[in-house]
Symmetry: C2
Subunit: 457 residues, 2 copies
């Protein structure tokens, strides 16, 4: 087994140039999922990955239709029926490249400059997919792989994985597994290996307030009819109390509190309050009393207005008393909140607070459960040990404030915890021009994935 | 003098068919001010009126340029330098006729059906302009006219008189006068002669709230940055108290309270609370405690949101934490509120209440002073007597909730009070298909204007 591990590491070293070449081939396919004129390219990228899995010896390879772009699947059961099964997630679609004139190199071509490899998807996440395939190939080449593996490669992560929830539900059996590896989470810096063990969930609402049966003249009716825009504002205002806590009834009841160990780990992270002020340009931070900024964005739930629309919003004055008003309002959730419970809380809040002079409607239009992995599980410990072996320091355990929809679906539907890692860096310009990959970190990532696989023996 | 009055009334009676024919000519000119393809028609209507004034013996006739459509002006000084001067306002532009397929008769053609005359502008307000010209012609024909007269005929009332304020300021001398007659205000019913002695003013704001320097990802930053849309909602909510009174500091201080006589007059009017519920379709009215619906919309100031815009308002979920939020907010004002004072109050409110975690801007984008005429002035009494003579009942004195911009400008700039009358009815479908004029009421209107002129001797 020790021989296999060394052999795999050597294989990876010997084949780095080829892995890079493969990454170049994948980057050259402009699989922009948001742009329908690239739909054929998204399919080409799926084909490329299916062919690659076949070459690695995977079976049951499928390009599975979804309601959007297809899912590439395949499995390797060589470890036998008693071994655990790891589900490896990745996505092969990329963000659009506009404004393309701000790119210094062709976006759909990899260009190496020193330690950096430029190109759309090098970091998010074609580079991570290739790193994972490389580690798997090295291990399969060396032998003694201690676990079965399934791949689940998505084609529409960059459009918010709109059809993923339904897909996972429908294909739960195909992807049944013991745990998941998701290399879409990134590292804090090249020196700090990182394991993301928590992601926030989401309950996203549209709230509609209807007042008079049509837009009215504010002169003829102003002052005697409840204005739905004013009422919406009042309702939104009431959703926070004076300590900036969310007032939906029962909202905090199921929240898993940050423990002392977590709060101590968070203090090691570079994201202090200054960091958040610099990133956002605000003159003063804001949030729930009693928590640091980092704790608030990763370990605490929120309620934010994402959009407001009512009445006349063009140039100049129009004296309309609008007949209706709409807000998009979303809550970021943490373990163990349930988006459907939050939906009930939102409706209860409206029932208790909305003026009887208007009617209201609340629609839940997107939801995702928060995900959290036990930090002392065998798999997380295997990953931590692998990272320490490669980087020489213990990894940082962090939570992330965002949502990776698939992680929520795997946790919610398949009951599978995800190990979220990845070898992208905050300065990689993902979603922006001049996206890039830090190659030394990426190479360490491949090595750490190989160690991880063998640590699971 | 009594002879002249009778002679004038007889002249009006004898010439009714011609007045109607003239109204037909004016309606046939599609002077839709909102539609630039009708700009030549707007000019044709101005020419028609200038020619008519010339025929009546007016002098200094001008088609005065404005920053929009022109103003038709002319004066008659035959009563001598010691007599008072009456400024007669009217507008010769009309609303668009869409949806034109809902008209039962050609919109730019007068069609008589029984007592009703159909056509765009018959009621609002080409019919009223012709009625006024008819009364003036009759009096000039009969002689002994006791006052000088100036006409001010506007071409863009239906687009909100956007350039009227600047125009009146620039040409204050041309239109200097002792009082104004504005026949654009209408009657409550064919049996109830009506004098509108109060109109609400307006202070219309855009409020901009800026938070982070750009739109943020609500996952990465939600919970630690003050969301400008949430903050805007909180600020709007705070602009009313629990009794639905406006909280801008000092807002009510200058408000002229409704007196007992006014409140008694209002009780005679048919607009009870049921009327407002039927008109608006709401299940429950709303407003400042202690006032009826009619009192609130005519004699009390308000604050209404006219528009809200922030973040993402398209289909589906987008998890943006918006960088900015905007509201259009307007206050209807009553005597003796000053829109510029209300602007200061709005800014003071924002200073005192906006979170230091955001920046804000308040822009006053439209303003109009409330106007009110003394009900016991000689001119108002002359009009009341004229209406009682013709209809056999005392007129209703009412306030209106809307703003006629010119009335505010005349009051604010020329220091001239307006007598607001008119012979249109609520059921005339103004601004809608099948606009019409009730001819018996219109004829009484002409007679009452003749009495009004001679009552001023």
């Amino acid at each position: 087994m020790a021989d296999s591990r060394s052999k795999a590491l050597q294989f990876a070293k010997d084949n780095r140039a080829r892995f890079l070449e493969e990454l170049g081939q994948l980057v050259a396919i402009p699989s922009v999922s948001a742009d329908s004129k690239h739909t054929p390219d998204v399919l080409r990228a799926a084909d490329w990955l299916a062919a690659k899995l076949k070459k690695l010896g995977f079976e049951n390879i499928q390009i599975m239709p979804t309601d959007g772009h297809p899912m590439v699947a395949g499995d390797w059961r060589g470890a036998g029926p008693k071994a655990k099964t790891m589900l490896i997630y990745g996505h092969y679609d990329v963000q659009p490249v506009d404004p393309v004139e701000l790119w210094d190199t062709p976006p759909f071509e990899t260009t190496k400059k020193g330690d950096l490899l430029f190109g759309r998807g090098t970091s998010d996440m074609k580079g991570q997919v290739i790193a994972t395939l490389a580690a798997v190939e090295a291990a399969l080449h060396a032998g003694d792989v201690p676990l079965n593996m399934k791949f689940m490669l998505e084609g529409e992560e960059e459009t918010g994985s709109p059809t993923m929830g339904a897909f996972v539900k429908k294909n739960a059996k195909t992807f049944a597994s013991d745990f998941a590896l998701n290399p879409d989470a990134g590292m804090l810096s090249p020196e700090i290996p990182t394991i993301t063990y928590g992601l926030r969930g989401l309950a996203y609402f549209e709230v509609h307030i209807t007042g008079p049966k049509m837009d009215l003249h504010s002169g003829f009716f102003g002052g005697t009819v409840r204005n739905p825009a004013n009422e919406l504002a009042r309702l939104i205002a009431g959703m926070h109390d004076e300590n900036n806590r969310v007032t939906l009834p029962g909202f905090y009841d199921p929240v898993r509190e940050l423990d002392d160990d977590e709060r101590a780990q968070f203090k090691r992270l570079p994201q202090d309050d200054n960091f958040y002020m610099q990133q956002t340009g605000v003159k003063q931070l804001w949030g729930e009393e009693g928590f640091t900024a980092l704790e608030r964005v990763t370990g605490r739930p929120t309620l934010d207005v994402n959009g407001l629309l009512s009445g006349y919003t063009g140039e100049g004055p129009k004296t309309v008393l609008p007949g209706k008003a709409m807000a998009k309002i979303s809550c970021r959730l943490v373990a163990d909140q349930d988006p459907y419970e939050v939906e009930k809380q939102m409706k209860k809040y409206m029932e208790e607070n909305a003026s009887p002079a208007v009617t209201w409607e609340v629609k839940l239009i997107s939801d995702s459960v928060a995900s959290i992995s036990e930090r002392d599980s065998a798999e997380i410990q295997a990953m931590a040990k692998a990272q320490e072996t490669v980087w020489g320091v213990k990894p940082i355990f962090r939570r992330e404030g965002g949502t990776i929809p698939v992680v929520g679906h795997l946790q919610g539907v398949l009951k599978v915890e995800s190990i979220n890692v990845g070898y992208g860096l905050p300065e990689d310009h993902i979603h922006s021009p001049n996206e890039r990959l830090h190659l030394p970190t990426w190479e360490k990532g491949i090595d750490s994935l190989i160690h991880f696989i063998y640590n699971l023996s």
